[in-house]
């Protein structure tokens, strides 16, 4: 157990360094490069209203913070949903959780509500989607594979509903496009604070519930035999996971695969120590999305590739790799 703690400590340090490096790259690189020394001066209040300071405050910093919130939220949300549904291939972008959030935000925009409410609408949509899936799977006694297929079907249905709304309200097509590709460039700083606060609260609560999440590994009967009120605990986890997914979707749209790639990578790095698993997912998720966004907007300069597209290029091969790896391996098909 001591070895496990030492290994987790090393991974947390590694994750922290990865996150720091990603943040510095994100703040420094772009159409206008800002040297690290100048970033430090701006952060310590030594640089006033120069062009670099304005770019830093109004463009780079909000975007980097958005990446951190979305990356941490989506990867932890994915890890939690995988634990609750006992399926490692269940990620918010695959089983309709993000699509539910996107539908709710589209409806919010169609109804003319302020975008400040977007995080709450997105949460409601994400929660409704994941609850529908979890309760449906429970009612029909669905196997893990069937749950995944149900989620994929739900994802298609919710996306179709969003597209239907756009068909009747074509003026929202630009919003829908931003949502579909998952682009941090469309991030609205006004929504950053409420979404960031909600995500931070959800993350802090989840970080205290690691033993409960771990116990779900034992299955319904095993967890109940150890005194867990599994229905209540599963609902609580889904509520918090949906809150995280909703916050991320309201900020950056449909960023697929973060919730799939990061939890798996953390597990493969032997970060399965229950106490550090979710914090590691948050650290690596935030760092990974920040790095992807930096690459997406600098690799093809002066063009900016939406981060969601780059994530899909990385995520699809990884997803297929996982499908092959878990073929017939029930023991590995667990969170």
């Amino acid at each position: 157990m001591k070895n496990s703690r030492r290994s987790s400590g090393r991974l947390l340090l590694l994750g922290g360094l990865f996150l720091l490096a990603s943040c510095l790259l994100s703040l420094a690189l772009g159409s206008s490069r800002i040297p690290l020394s100048q970033i430090l001066r701006i952060l310590t209040g030594g640089e006033g209203e120069g062009a670099d300071a304005l770019i830093f405050r109004h463009v780079r910093l909000p975007r980097t913070l958005g990446c951190l919130v979305c990356g941490a939220a989506l990867s932890v949300s994915g890890a939690v949903i995988q634990g609750v549904l006992a399926n490692r291939l269940a990620a918010p972008g695959i089983i309709g959780v993000n699509a539910g959030a996107a539908l709710a935000v589209t409806l919010c925009a169609a109804a003319g509500f302020s975008s400040l409410w977007a995080p709450l609408w997105a949460f409601a949509g994400a929660f409704a989607a994941v609850l529908t899936l979890a309760l449906g799977a429970r009612a029909w006694g669905a196997s893990r594979g069937t749950v995944l297929l149900m989620g994929v079907a739900l994802n298609s249905l919710l996306n179709a509903l969003s597209d239907t709304v756009i068909t009747f309200r074509p003026e929202l097509a630009a919003l829908r496009h931003d949502f579909k590709v998952g682009d941090l460039a469309a991030l609205r700083p006004a929504t950053l604070l409420p979404a960031g606060l909600l995500a931070a609260v959800a993350l802090l609560i989840l970080f205290t519930l690691y033993n409960e999440l771990d116990l779900l590994n034992l299955g319904e009967e095993g967890a109940r035999a150890l005194g867990m009120d599994t229905l209540r605990v599963r609902l609580m986890f889904l509520f918090l996971a949906a809150l995280l997914a909703g916050c991320a979707v309201s900020l950056a749209g449909l960023l697929s695969f973060v919730g799939l790639i990061v939890p798996h990578t953390v597990r493969r790095l032997k970060g399965r120590s229950p106490g550090s698993f979710l914090p590691l997912c948050a650290l690596f998720g935030a760092g990974f999305l920040t790095l992807c966004d930096t690459l997406a907007r600098t690799l093809f300069s002066p063009y900016e590739l939406p981060a969601g597209i780059l994530m899909a290029y990385l995520g699809v091969p990884f997803f297929l790799f996982l499908l092959v790896r878990t073929k017939g391996g029930h023991a590995r098909d667990r969170a």
Partner: protein, 249 residues
């Protein structure tokens, strides 16, 4: 003592268990036997508070089970269901989770929990396998890890559904000896067993289920002499001079 009072229970309209009454006292090793589908696992689920009875009630030391919170039940009753999936945990993590019912939010395992879990692993001979993922162990070793978890739970009663599955005959006998020791130390043990000679040779009492009804509950020699075993299973059990039982087909 846990008492089942005229319990009927099941998963749909037709009950699996019908009007079952029995008791599980402390300090005894009791075997539960019966053909496939006779309701053995259902009976254990009802006793553990996992499945609510449709009729009748379960009473734990004068308190109806339905009045107790799940963690309070788990502190008193450990229940090892049949293994269906292998959890993605190490041996040490699994055994430590046996302490879960004893914790309050925020649930953190302390030095006492670690010491109890370590003692349980040592008792099952697993101290060298603590860091080993369960998925990499043989079925028998995984079964031992699950039993160590039940020991770490430190409950008054232990219910085990087919605990000898995956164990070779040597380990089956060792497990029954362990269960016997636990019973002698004051715990109430109820184990579902398919091996009738093993059940009759090692238990204080045997419960015989048939088609959801409890058709026999007695000491092994009395139940063996009653002819119920032949009626239910179509085989005879023959006691030997050393108190062991053997099949006669």
């Amino acid at each position: 003592m846990i008492a089942l009072e005229r319990v009927s229970a099941g998963y749909g309209a037709a009950p699996v268990l019908r009007d079952v009454s029995c008791t599980l006292p402390k300090g005894q090793l009791i075997s539960l036997v019966g053909p496939n589908g006779s309701g053995k696992s259902t009976l254990l689920r009802v006793l553990a508070g996992i499945l609510a009875p449709g009729a009748g009630r379960v009473v734990l030391e004068d308190t109806p089970l339905r009045e107790l919170k799940p963690n309070m039940i788990a502190r008193r009753i450990a229940f090892l269901a049949q293994e269906r999936d292998t959890p993605d945990l190490t041996v040490a993590q699994l055994v430590l989770h046996g302490r879960f019912p004893h914790l309050q939010y925020p649930r953190r395992y302390g030095p006492l929990d670690l010491a109890i879990a370590r003692a349980a692993m040592e008792r099952m001979g697993l101290e060298a396998h603590g860091h080993c993922p369960l998925a990499k162990l043989s079925g028998g070793m995984r079964q031992k890890a699950r039993i160590a978890m039940a020991l770490a739970q430190d409950s008054d009663y232990i219910l085990l559904d087919e605990p000898t599955t995956y164990l070779d005959i040597g380990h089956q006998l060792a497990l029954m000896n362990l269960l016997r020791e636990l019973a002698v130390s004051g715990k109430g043990i109820l184990a579902v067993l398919h091996d009738l000679p093993l059940a009759f040779s090692t238990s204080d009492q045997v419960l015989l289920l048939h088609e959801g009804s409890l058709v026999g509950k007695a000491a092994p020699d009395a139940l063996c002499a009653s002819g119920m075993v032949r009626d239910v299973f179509g085989v005879d059990l023959i006691p030997s001079a050393e108190g062991r039982y053997h099949y006669r087909y």
